[in-house]
Amino acid sequence: MGVWHLTAVELEALKLSLWVSAWAVAVSLPAGVLTAWVLARGRFAGKHFLDGLVHLPLVLPPVVIGYLLLVLMGRNGVIGALLYEYLGIVVAFNWKGAALAAAVMAFPLMVRAVRLALESVDQGLEAAARTLGAGPWRVFFTITLPLIVPGIITGAILAFARSLGEFGATITFVSNIAGQTQTLPLALYTLTQVPDGEAAALRLCVLSVLIAMAALIFSEQVSRRFTRRLRGEQ
């Protein structure tokens, strides 16, 4: 039983992972829904370009994304420098940067799930709501949004699971600082680089798998519950 006990370092990594992933999802949710909306309903030049941009984190090596984040959001980065100068916000070398890296990597998964849900919403319902006097915003919040909640939940949980496993972009962008950026995957990585760290690495491995499975099962349940409620079968 002793071998399954988490050390202080591992516990810290676990807590940090959950914190970072939760923030990553929270931040990417509104942006994800908005982007999904634009891609699902928008009709404008450059839509395919936006679609490609959104999917970049899925097809580029995570280290490349990490490097791009460094160039853009580092203390001397194009945007990071402005953030620091005008708002005093720093994302380099702390959990916020880790959350940002995770959010970027998980973003395409969230957008895909929400977009799928949006495309299956009967736009006739939205038209009906308009004829009943609801403007586009009211239609979105009272009709569209409730109907895509299962898709949003799926997207959020997928994003959460992806964030939990984020490694390449994180270690490249914010390095491996215990307590700040050393999430579960980074802790696992460190353990594999240290002589005789295998037992601990395996422990963390099992832990990661358990959390991911729990998240996926949970999302299935919630999503199914919501869909049944929507269809009025409850």
Partner: protein, 264 residues
């Protein structure tokens, strides 16, 4: 029907283009003198040049994999197909020797190095006096972090930690590190100005225009930096021998010296 023929032609073309250029090297790669060398990240530039020379002399094609010695050692332990291992420190070589993954009879000490403090080229810091108890945190400022290889496993990080401990300043900075996965990544952080201070090898500082050395750690502040090299057991040990000899030869030495290494 003509359409199908055209598709087939297209596929042949695609295959040719993907493999054609490699056909030459394909033949060469299976040549008995070709080697796979796993080497410490800090030797990237020097060894790259040496490898090109080795091939130009017709002695065989060398493929390199550069990373932190810790990563490479772990890979070799798991059976990675390396023929030669050049480590940035002795412990990792000994680690592999204990696991019977390198042949002790071919092992030799090859290079030495120094560790230095670097700052971004445009930093206002001019020089840092490295003496016992020197105020490192002052140089870092309020929020800066010291970029270095991960002291848990990267050789440059381990030497760095020992040196900082020797100087009595490790406690000042141990919570203000940016541990990177190899020394080159640590260098990049300083080059980009993301970290105001970095701890890297003198050789790394030398190749970068974007950083400046502000202090050199005395060689007795850490255990001697020794780069051992050895042939990997189960690899092409016969083909490795001439390469190991070449590394000790005058041409290779000149290249190493050019890049700032100590040659033993």
């Amino acid at each position: 029907m003509a359409f199908m023929k055209r598709i087939r032609h297209l596929w042949v073309l695609v295959l040719l283009f993907s493999f054609g250029p490699n056909l030459g090297t394909c033949v060469a790669a299976s040549a008995v003198n070709d080697l796979v060398v796993f080497a410490a990240a800090s030797t990237t530039n020097a060894l790259g040049e040496i490898g090109t020379l080795y091939e130009a002399r017709g002695m065989g094609h060398v493929t390199f994999s550069f990373a932190s010695s810790s990563t490479l050692a772990k890979q070799i332990e798991s059976g990675a197909p390396a023929d030669v291992f050049l480590s940035a420190d002795v412990p990792w070589m000994t680690y592999l020797e204990d696991k019977k993954k390198v042949a002790p009879e071919n092992r030799q000490e090859l290079l030495g190095n120094r560790i230095v403090l670097v700052v971004p080229a445009d930093s206002p810091v001019k020089a840092v006096e490295i003496e016992p108890g020197f105020s490192l945190s002052n140089v870092l400022g309020k929020e800066g972090r010291l970029s270095m290889g991960d002291p848990e496993h990267v050789p440059a990080g381990k030497y760095g930690r020992k040196a900082l401990e020797q100087m009595g300043v490790w406690d000042q900075v141990k919570d203000r590190l940016a541990p990177m996965k190899d020394v080159r990544a640590a260098l990049v952080m300083v080059e980009r100005g993301e970290a105001p201070l970095g701890l890297v090898y003198a050789t790394d500082a030398a190749i970068s225009q974007k950083v400046r050395v502000v202090g050199i750690f005395p060689s007795d502040s850490h255990s001697p930096i020794v780069y051992p090299v050895a042939a990997v057991s189960g690899g092409k040990m016969e083909a490795a021998k001439p390469f190991l000899t070449f590394l000790k030869g005058s041409e290779a030495r000149a290249i190493f010296l050019k890049y700032g290494f100590d040659v033993r």
